[in-house]
């Protein structure tokens, strides 16, 4: 515990980490406040079409979308702060809602991945034997599929007909589809290092001592081994969220991710015809880079502070 | 003593740490003659390894500061250029390390590794180098040298690996061989073989051997002279007979007393020296053993010089107590040891 206290102060001194947390915090807060912004500042929702409308900016009246099909770009006005898309929708509002979707998917999926990876990793590493063989085989199998392609394939298959697993039915356009897809696909990425660490811990003397004391397997796993995984989880956690945001953006860009506003899908709209609406492609990208970079910096700092000798291994 | 082949004077090694300099070696001086075996003993952290690494020039200049004089023959090493030091390292001055499994490159064949040392110091063809590698493996008494030369380290047993390390060190006919705990990582039965080998090589090749160890039994077997180190300083020096039969420094008494004896009744507790060695970050003035010594007197507050006090010219120590007092105090329960204070 003394080491954790020391690491915490090192962490606070690391300016990169602090900056990263601040940036991420700000972005997250802004996105959480999406409904507030929509209602009080912009006056429209994320799906409100407004192709033929006009609005005021700097005392002038502008077309939201010109007759030639060119949406207005970013500027300093309450409405259309970041411009409009081809349907006349307020990009800033969509950015905030999209960010909210992306962050929710990224974080919840990361939680699911962590839950599954820790459970499976613990069981495999501690119990060994056939349990280990099966789980490890599962990891290898899942990891044989290219992440993006698998996520796309799953996302597509499930988007069409939704998901039916026994009593649970999920609609195709629910946010849960990309959450579950991303959550499942990255389980081996975290599960394997966890398993490795559990095995290493198990080999160390004090687990044997605990067993000799008569403590049962479940109790040992939860009370003794789990706390030691904390630093690994913390480091990996930030990286997985960062990864999820990037992957989800890619999926949404292709149409296999979030079926609503998302930073990736906005970029897709901009890419179609960059000549007329470059801001649609540029701005969400910057948002993604900022968010992911902030998370990566935090993750890096965590790794340095909590365990400078930790190997973030991929095998 | 004959003209020494290696002379070390006032060697000081300090490591740069976040909490200030850690002084691992504080003014160590010794000399070794050709064919002589010098043993340096002491507990972990006493500075013996640091001293050896400093002599070899293996310490990173950014992390450790080394001062003093190290003379190999007529050459002063500490101030010499990188190239000069490199030409000596692995050539005239060679070292064998503690764990042969991690000290050998796992992905290279052992023959290649030996040949590499040859190539670094002389112009020699690949075939000739390989021949010499086989010859060296035979010299360290490996059973099938021609087959072993192509093996990888993990394919060999611990004892064989250590022999390979020794063969490698001997490749360029060194004048001085430093062995840092060469038997610590090996089984007891293998230990004896390796020691035999080292003793034999000393006679065959006339190489001076500096043996670093914490095992006093090993020292008694093959050393000509012994240095006892504590907290970065030499506290006693002399022949094994001097140091084991007529030890002058309380720390030596403690070391000897801690050895379990088979020829005596079993004591209820294994004697240990109470307390811990001082931290190299905050060296206190005076004799470094004061906090743990039951025989401390006021004169100990000033660091005693290392000089012969017991009569024999070659036997020096750093304890100000008179020889008579020492003789009386060092007997505890019928054997040499350190009475537990308090």
């Amino acid at each position: 515990m003394a080491t954790h206290r020391a690491s915490l102060s090192t962490l606070r001194r690391n300016r990169g980490v602090v900056a990263g947390l601040l940036v991420f915090g700000l972005i997250a807060l802004a996105c959480l406040a999406a409904p507030l912004y929509a209602e009080h500042v912009a006056g429209v929702g994320p799906e409100a079409n407004n192709i033929t409308g006009t609005f005021q900016r700097n005392g002038r009246t502008l077309d939201v979308v010109t007759p030639g099909g060119r949406p207005v770009g970013p500027g300093w006005s309450r409405r259309y702060l970041l411009g409009a898309d081809r349907n006349g929708r307020d990009v800033m509002v969509r950015m905030l809602y999209g960010g909210r979707n992306s962050l929710v998917v990224g974080i919840v999926a990361a939680l699911i991945t962590t839950l599954l990876a820790v459970t499976l990793g613990l069981l495999a590493g501690y119990l060994r034997g056939w349990v280990d063989a099966v789980i490890r085989g599962g990891f290898d199998l899942l990891w044989s599929f290219p992440v993006v392609l698998l996520a796309i394939a799953l996302g597509t298959a499930l988007a069409i007909g939704g998901l039916e697993l026994g009593p649970v039915t999920i609609e195709g356009d629910s946010l849960w589809i990309p959450i579950l897809v991303l959550g499942a696909v990255y389980v081996p990425y975290l599960g394997r290092p966890i398993r490795g660490q559990v095995i290493a811990l198990r080999e160390s003397g004090w687990v044997e001592a605990a067993e000799a004391q008569g403590l049962g397997a479940p109790r040992i796993m939860v009370a003794e081994i789990l706390p030691n995984l904390a630093s690994t989880l913390l480091v990996f956690g930030t990286l997985i969220v960062a990864n999820n945001i990037l992957t989800e953006a890619g999926l949404s860009f292709l149409g296999a991710g979030i079926q609503g506003p998302s930073w990736g899908s906005i970029i897709a709209e901009g890419v179609d015809r960059p000549t007329t609406a470059p801001h649609l492609a540029i701005v969400p990208g910057l948002a993604i880079v900022a968010t992911v970079l902030a998370l990566n910096v935090v993750g890096d700092g965590l790794r340095a502070a909590l365990d400078p000798r930790a190997r973030v291994s991929l095998r | 003593m004959a003209e020494p082949v290696l002379r070390v004077e006032d060697l000081e090694v300090a490591y740069a740490t976040a909490a200030g300099p850690a002084r691992a070696v504080r003014g160590v001086s010794f000399a070794v003659a050709p064919g002589e075996t010098l043993a340096i003993v002491g507990e972990s952290g006493c500075g013996k390894s640091s001293a050896a690494h400093a002599v070899m020039g293996l310490l990173d200049a950014r992390r450790a500061s080394v001062t003093g004089r190290v003379q190999l023959g007529a050459r002063e090493l500490l101030g010499a250029s990188h190239t000069e030091r490199r030409s000596v390292r692995g050539g005239e001055l060679a070292m064998v390390f503690q764990d042969p499994l991690t000290s050998l490159n796992p992905v290279q064949r052992v023959g290649t590794q030996i040949a590499e040392q040859l190539h670094a110091h002389r112009a020699i063809g690949r075939a000739a180098a390989r021949e010499r590698a086989v010859e060296l493996l035979g010299r360290v008494r490996i059973a099938a040298p021609a087959a072993t030369v192509d093996a990888h380290p993990h394919e060999l047993s611990g004892g064989m690996r250590q022999r390979v390390m020794i063969a490698m060190a001997l490749a360029n006919e060194p004048r001085v061989l430093i062995a840092d705990e060469p038997t610590t990582a090996l089984d007891v039965t293998i230990q004896a073989q390796i020691l035999d080998l080292l003793a034999g090589l000393r006679v065959e090749l006339g190489v001076a051997l500096i043996l670093i160890t914490h095992d006093l039994g090993v020292v008694a077997e093959i050393a000509d002279r012994v240095l006892v180190m504590y907290a970065g300083r030499i506290v006693e020096a002399g022949s094994p007979a001097d140091v084991f039969l007529d030890p002058q420094h309380p720390y030596t008494w403690g070391l000897l007393g801690a050895i379990p004896r088979v020829d005596r009744p079993v004591a209820p507790r294994l004697p240990a020296i109470a307390g811990l060695p001082p931290s190299p970050l905050a060296p206190a003035p005076g004799c470094p053993f004061q906090p743990r010594c039951p025989h401390v007197v006021s004169a100990c507050a000033e660091l005693p010089a290392l000089e012969p006090r017991a009569g024999a010219a070659g036997h020096a120590d750093r304890c100000v107590l008179s020889p008579a007092v020492k003789r009386a105090r060092r007997e505890v329960a019928g054997r040499i040891g350190l009475e537990v204070s308090g």
């Binding site: 044989s144 290219p146 007909g161 939704g162 149409g255 880079v289 | 070292m95 992905v107 670094a120």
Partner: protein
């Protein structure tokens, strides 16, 4: 060594079998709704639907369906019903583009990744290391498709420095082949360069503290030789594993985003197009193709690893 290879090959076959079963589960069993509609497309005629039902065996039990599906995959009769094209043919048509993209990018990312990694390790803690480290951090935070889009916008539209996407065959026009691939190569390799530089830096710094490096120095070897023959040689090993997996994934169509943005019509883009139109057979086909490459590369990597690190060969 030969036994080791044989074992890995056998393992590979088993994994492929498992992969095919999983794909079947994922695409036919788990999702809800009518599988016939999923395969045939929403606007299919009743005749097409009947054909689909027949080919895939949707009116039969699951094992039969699996066999039918695998049968189609293996003898190349898997078709996309709405487009009426053979999936295998389309995949084969996309391979040259994908291969050109991935192999070219791989050469670039290995060279620069290792180069920057060695640079970082050599000057660890000093400014070259910090600069490379910062750049690497940014590189791994960039969405690949966005980088491509930005490059396209600024370097092909605003300033006409490069062709605006598309792929030109090497045999047709080598010059065109090159100019069309430069931007995609840069885009795809950026992320990997960042990752590899960081991994190699860590790997080298770890290796430098190993005992055998100390022995190498004690032997009197030059610093350069210590760095190359001992430190780098051992530090590269984890990178080889990583490369095998990355390359396998990329060539299996994992470069889907880059291909889509630059309109290269490779395998990845074919998959992306199928996703867009919710056309399942091509998605199945490309997924299996991708999995095949990953499994193949994984087995190859194990074999190469065994060659590089003799310690592994013992326990196979």
């Amino acid at each position: 060594m030969r036994g080791f290879v044989a074992r890995r090959m056998a393992g590979m076959a088993l994994v492929l079998l498992a992969v095919s079963l999983t794909a079947f589960l994922v695409f036919n069993v788990i999702p809800g709704g009518d599988p016939t509609v999923r395969i045939a497309g929403r606007s299919a005629s009743e005749q097409t639907r009947a054909q689909v039902r027949e080919d895939f065996g949707f009116d039969r039990s699951y094992p039969v369906q699996y066999v039918r599906l695998m049968g189609q995959v293996l003898d190349g009769t898997l078709t996309s019903y709405p487009d009426r094209v053979n999936v295998r043919d389309e995949i084969v048509r996309g391979i040259p583009a994908t291969a050109s993209l991935v192999i070219g990018a791989a050469v670039i990312w290995v060279l620069f990744g290792v180069g920057f990694g060695v640079l970082s390790a050599r000057y660890a803690g000093r400014w070259p290391d910090r600069v490379v480290g910062a750049l690497a951090m940014v590189a791994i935070s960039l969405p690949v498709f966005w980088v491509g889009a930005m490059l396209l916008y600024y370097l092909t539209y605003r300033v006409e420095l490069f062709p605006p996407g598309g792929y030109v065959g090497l045999s047709e026009d080598p010059g065109g082949w090159l100019t069309h691939l430069l931007l995609p190569w840069f885009t795809l390799s950026l992320l990997f360069i960042g990752v590899y530089a960081r991994v190699l830096r860590t790997s080298m710094l770890d290796a430098e503290h190993e005992d055998y490096v100390r022995t190498a120095r004690a032997k009197g070897l030059s610093e350069r030789r210590v760095m190359t023959r001992h430190v780098l040689r051992n530090a590269l090993v984890p990178l080889v594993t990583l490369f095998g997996l990355d390359f396998g994934a990329a060539i299996g169509g994992g470069a889907i985003l880059t291909e889509a943005v630059f309109d290269l019509h490779g395998v990845g883009q074919y998959a992306a197009g199928a996703v867009d139109s919710l056309d399942l057979p091509p998605v199945i086909g490309t997924t299996l193709y991708a999995a095949f490459f990953i499994v193949l590369m994984s087995a190859l990597v194990d074999i190469v690893y065994g060659w590089l690190d003799p310690r592994v060969r013992v326990d196979g």
